[in-house]
């Protein structure tokens, strides 16, 4: 009793930097407002919710901007457990803007679908809040909380079409494997805590050296944590949930999962690997090397065989994940900075491109009501603008200059080859070959769009809602600008600003 009392007396409230937390606060207030407004609005006024969600996201972007402009120093909260640095600001900006584009992609879909709208926007905002928190988390507990925060609403969103069996299957699969991954990761984390006697990533980084009596336990812990994240980012062989979940979930949710949720998993992985396990490189680098090679190759090979568009994108997104992992296979020392930059650049470019592609798919499926690749036949002949946009996004995913994707791939290759080991070159060649294989299926879709006849000769034009048009405009401009003037985005990832961040 006295022990409790004395520790309570010693406790002082931490000084909270409200400016640094402003994005999170705006989001938290916004999602509460959305929930409340949903309760008290009539069915015909529910469109208000999407507007509110959009404004919340843009509102949360403002403090991110002011923080970025304000000064360059790192704001460290709660003894370094929550850090606002340039890296986290870039990622927060990415999540919020990606979230905004997803709102634009969703609104027509949600309005027309006779769904539970209020919940949709609420869950979306909650998950985004988790992602924004993830960008700043530098502690096992905050990483884990953020991860669950972003995952649990995502499970529900995947199963959001209640009456649709596929959607249920999507949600359940995602949930079961996600929970399993969390359990594995949590076990690894508990081992880490046991070894390091701290949950702060920086402290763990000092304790994990694969040396001494606990070397085996340390190695096991590292592997468990990496495996847990491998599930989240759907790296092969932990990817099996992705195609079913992507196909079954409502398309805007799939866009959300494949872009934002995946990016959050990657940044968590990067932060943990580079901050907590810098000395454990000998364990995780070969592991990541194999994961990366497998992920690129298997994802591609399966994508080649798909006839359903969304399944193809699911496998392609698995394969793209392999490219994000690629630079991590050598990360460490000088290459660590380059690897971090490569991951950030890749995620930014990939987000713009993939969201754009989902935008086109949503627009086209309004007419075709089909998920088959063949349903895109002759798109260019009756909807040239959508056809060209889809081509731009596909070419960007394939990494063809001067569209955004190439700079992502280029940065990944460059980071990989910074440490000029033979293994790095082998992985680079595997990556190069895979980027060619990938064109097999991206090119297949282009062929449908440009060279095949329209199915059933149905030439009725496609009506694209204005929200979708805006989303397509944003993503197309981003894809082009990132490709032609990549300095813009590479500047974000300028590594000098990130090293300090990891120090905490």
């Amino acid at each position: 009793m006295s022990l409790v009392a004395s520790s309570a007396a010693a406790w002082t409230a931490p000084v909270i930097d409200y400016h640094a937390l402003a994005p999170e606060i705006v989001l938290a207030v916004g999602l509460s407002v959305v929930l409340l407004v949903d309760l008290f609005t009539a069915e015909r006024n529910k469109w208000l919710l999407s507007v509110l969600t959009g404004f919340t996201l843009l509102g949360a972007t403002l403090p991110v901007l002011t923080l970025a402009i304000h000064d360059d120093s790192v704001r460290s909260l709660f003894d370094g457990r929550y850090v606002v640095d340039e890296f986290s600001l870039v990622m927060k900006g990415l999540f919020l803007l990606a979230g905004y584009v997803i709102v634009l992609l969703s609104s027509a879909h949600v309005e027309e679908g006779d769904y539970w709208r209020g919940e949709y926007w609420f869950l979306l905002l909650t998950s985004l809040l988790g992602m924004v928190m993830m960008s700043s988390s530098r502690d096992l507990v905050s990483v884990f909380v953020a991860l669950e925060f972003l995952s649990i609403p995502a499970y529900m969103l995947a199963a959001w079409r209640k009456r649709d069996l596929r959607s249920n299957e999507a949600g359940v699969k995602y949930f079961l494997l996600g929970v399993f991954a969390s359990a594995v990761m949590l076990y690894g984390m508990s081992l880490l805590y046991g070894v390091a006697n701290s949950t702060l990533l920086v402290d763990i980084g000092e304790s994990i050296n694969l040396d001494g009596d606990f070397a085996a336990v340390q190695a096991l812990a590292v592997v468990f944590v990496v495996v847990g994240f491998a599930f989240k980012v759907s790296a092969v062989p932990f990817h099996t949930w992705a195609p079913d979940t992507y196909e079954g979930a409502p398309t805007p949710v799939t866009a959300f999962l494949s872009v934002a949720s995946k990016a959050a998993g990657f940044i968590a992985l990067v932060v943990v690997l580079l901050t907590a396990f810098p000395a454990g490189r000998d364990v995780w680098q070969p592991f990541v090397w194999v994961l990366s090679a497998l992920t690129m190759t298997i994802g591609n090979v399966f994508a080649l065989r798909q006839t359903n568009l969304v399944r193809m994108i699911a496998y392609s997104s698995v394969s793209q994940g392999g490219f994000v992992l690629m630079p991590l296979a050598v990360a460490g020392g000088a290459a660590g900075d380059a690897a971090l930059r490569a991951v950030v650049v890749y995620l930014v470019v990939y987000a713009a491109t993939n969201l754009g592609m989902f935008g086109v798919i949503l627009a086209v499926s309004r007419k075709t009501r089909s998920g088959d690749i063949a349903s895109l036949g002759g798109l260019f002949s009756y909807a040239p603008a959508l056809g060209v946009l889809l081509t731009i996004f596909l070419a960007s995913l394939a990494g063809i200059p001067p569209l955004g994707g190439w700079i992502g791939k280029f940065a990944a290759f460059q980071a990989l080859l910074t440490d000029a080991t033979p293994w790095a070159y082998v992985l680079a060649v595997i990556g190069a070959v895979n980027s060619v294989i990938a064109f097999g299926y991206y090119g297949n879709v282009m062929r449908e769009v440009w060279m095949r006849p329209v199915p059933h000769g149905d030439n009725t034009p496609i009506v694209t809602p204005s929200s979708l048009q805006i989303a397509l405009g944003i993503t197309a401009v981003a894809t082009l600008v990132l490709g032609i003037l990549p300095g813009v985005v590479l500047h974000f990832g300028d590594i000098a600003n990130l090293v300090g961040a990891f120090g905490g």
Binding site: I400, W406, Q414, L417, A428, M446, W450, G487
Partner: protein
């Protein structure tokens, strides 16, 4: 390295002007055929005028130096710069790309291939032009890579949408082959970047420092570049995309492919692979020479076996690019001079032959050699032009083809120091035999198509050369004769640049 930076806006304007045309075309209504054609034509005329300005202001006394050099930041984080310039090797190819595009546009005014849609067709052509011109002026590996890749998609669509029966297969094959090559090429570019101290992607910098890389490493880096460029050339055994792509492409696509795109590969060897990795070049040269002569013979036999006129011309490209690569593989200034001349000559001649093939197809609705005949009696002018181009292609002295072929063979007699002389003399003999076969297949082609009496029944489409065709073809024909009679017009520009490029090999 010394450079001339006067008028440094010229190259950027010349290269990016087509973008203006593309933007104008985008806002032109699809139905307004005349406006679309006018915009495309005016854009390519304007581009050529900028090209003429470049030519006039080029300092021919210093053709060995980079001129009109512009250099600014582009992607500072990866140390890549927007760095462009032309020397005597780049200039002819750069101008060729502009002129050929203009001629193709003129030809297209009257010949939009099925399924129509001139708007998209011209947009793709202008983007293609930008990529080609950019590749020849880029002095930074990453910039080079971007331009090099920029041509892929437009050509893919040009073949895939406006091509023949097997267009989808041919376009995908073209794309995958080229992309495979360029992916490995990019890895090689990164490798040379890191091995020279991760300082710069600028080609002049790499030329100065690449020689310092250990020889066994150079050999590997060269391997990556070799695959990238050899696919594009294309060299045996990477050539299999070429006959399909050429045969299936619309006439315009074939002309651009033959006249310019193939040169991106050979240019890459001359500009990048050989000067930056001199030790590896010596190691690789005999193999390149060997593949080149295999290509010469293979192309020749391939031609003899063809029944389709367009496919025959495509195989003849494999043989001709073999001569170019043989010249390059000698690593002597004599050989490389011949090679660069050969690139231009092949561009003019084979481009012209594909134009003719397109017009023959339009008139006779077939390119089966067996179904053709008697062109000289029925369409005498077209027949004579085919005759002239066949003679030029087989290397008749007095026409441009000769100066690419004959010196290339001759250069193999005396390759650069460090190369095995007897191997190269063997190559020389084989290549010389190749010219005999070239004469055989071209004369045989000419005999079967132009001589004799016309075959078939339906001839109401058959008419002689039209005005559009004359306008599009005359410049090429004049150039074929002019460069054949006065080869120094070209050698004079190329030679100083080649000397400069081959410094590492002692000339």
């Amino acid at each position: 390295m010394q450079m001339i930076r006067d008028n440094n806006w010229v190259l950027s304007v010349g290269t990016f002007l087509p973008i203006v045309g593309v933007l104008l075309l985008l806002v032109t209504p699809k139905a307004n055929d005349a406006a679309i054609k006018a915009v495309a034509l005016l854009t390519s005329i304007a581009t050529v005028l900028v090209g003429v300005f470049t030519l006039v202001n080029f300092d021919f006394d210093q053709a060995g130096l980079m001129q009109f050099v512009a250099q600014t930041d582009w992607i500072p984080v990866v140390k890549s710069t927007y760095f462009i310039g032309v020397d005597g090797i780049s200039l002819p190819l750069y101008l060729l790309s502009m002129v050929v595009t203009l001629l193709v546009v003129i030809y297209s005014l009257d010949h939009i291939p099925s399924p129509g849609n001139p708007k998209a067709f011209f947009i793709l052509m202008l983007i293609l032009q930008m990529g080609m011109a950019g590749t020849f002026i880029a002095q930074d590996l990453i910039l080079f890579f971007v331009f090099f890749e920029l041509v892929l998609l437009p050509m893919y669509f040009m073949i895939g949408v406006w091509g023949g029966e097997q267009r989808q297969y041919a376009s995908l094959k073209f794309f995958l082959y080229t992309m495979f090559g360029s992916a490995l090429m990019l890895v090689a570019f990164l490798a040379i970047f890191f091995k020279t101290g991760a300082e710069s992607f600028a080609i002049p910098y790499l030329v100065e420092n690449g020689g310092g890389i250990a020889k066994n490493v150079q050999v590997w880096i060269f391997a990556g570049m070799f695959i990238g460029f050899a696919v594009k050339v294309p060299m045996f055994p990477f050539h299999t995309w070429l006959p399909d792509a050429h045969t299936q492409a619309p006439t315009q696509g074939s002309v651009i492919l033959a006249a310019i795109l193939l040169k991106l590969g050979t240019y890459g060897f001359v500009r990048i692979a050989i000067p930056t990795l001199p030790d590896a070049a010596i190691e690789w040269a005999p193999w390149i020479g060997g593949l080149a002569v295999v290509g010469i013979m293979y192309g020749a036999f391939g031609c003899l076996a063809q029944t389709d006129m367009k496919r025959l011309i495509a195989f003849s490209s494999v043989a001709h690019m073999g001569f170019v690569m043989l010249g390059i593989s000698t690593l002597t200034s004599f050989g490389v001079n011949a090679a660069v001349f050969g690139m231009v000559a092949h561009g003019l001649i084979t481009g012209m032959l594909f134009f003719i093939a397109g017009s023959v197809k339009e008139r006779y609705h077939t390119l089966e050699i067996a179904k053709l005949g008697g062109m000289l009696t029925q369409v005498p002018r077209l027949g004579w032009i085919l005759g002239l181009c066949s003679m030029a292609s087989l290397g008749l002295p007095g026409l441009a083809g000769f100066w690419g072929e004959f010196p290339a063979i001759l250069s193999a007699y005396n390759p650069a120091d460090g190369l095995n002389v007897s191997v190269y003399r063997t190559y020389m003999v084989i290549a010389a035999l190749g010219t005999v076969f070239a004469a055989a297949y071209l004369l045989w082609l000419y005999q079967r198509t132009a001589f004799g009496t016309p075959k078939g029944h339906d001839h109401h489409d058959v008419h002689d050369v039209t005005t559009y065709e004359w306008v599009a073809w005359l410049p090429l024909l004049v150039a074929i004769v002019a460069f054949g009679v006065v080869p120094n017009l070209l050698f004079g520009v190329i030679d100083p640049a080649v000397q400069q490029t081959l410094r590492a090999f002692g000339g």
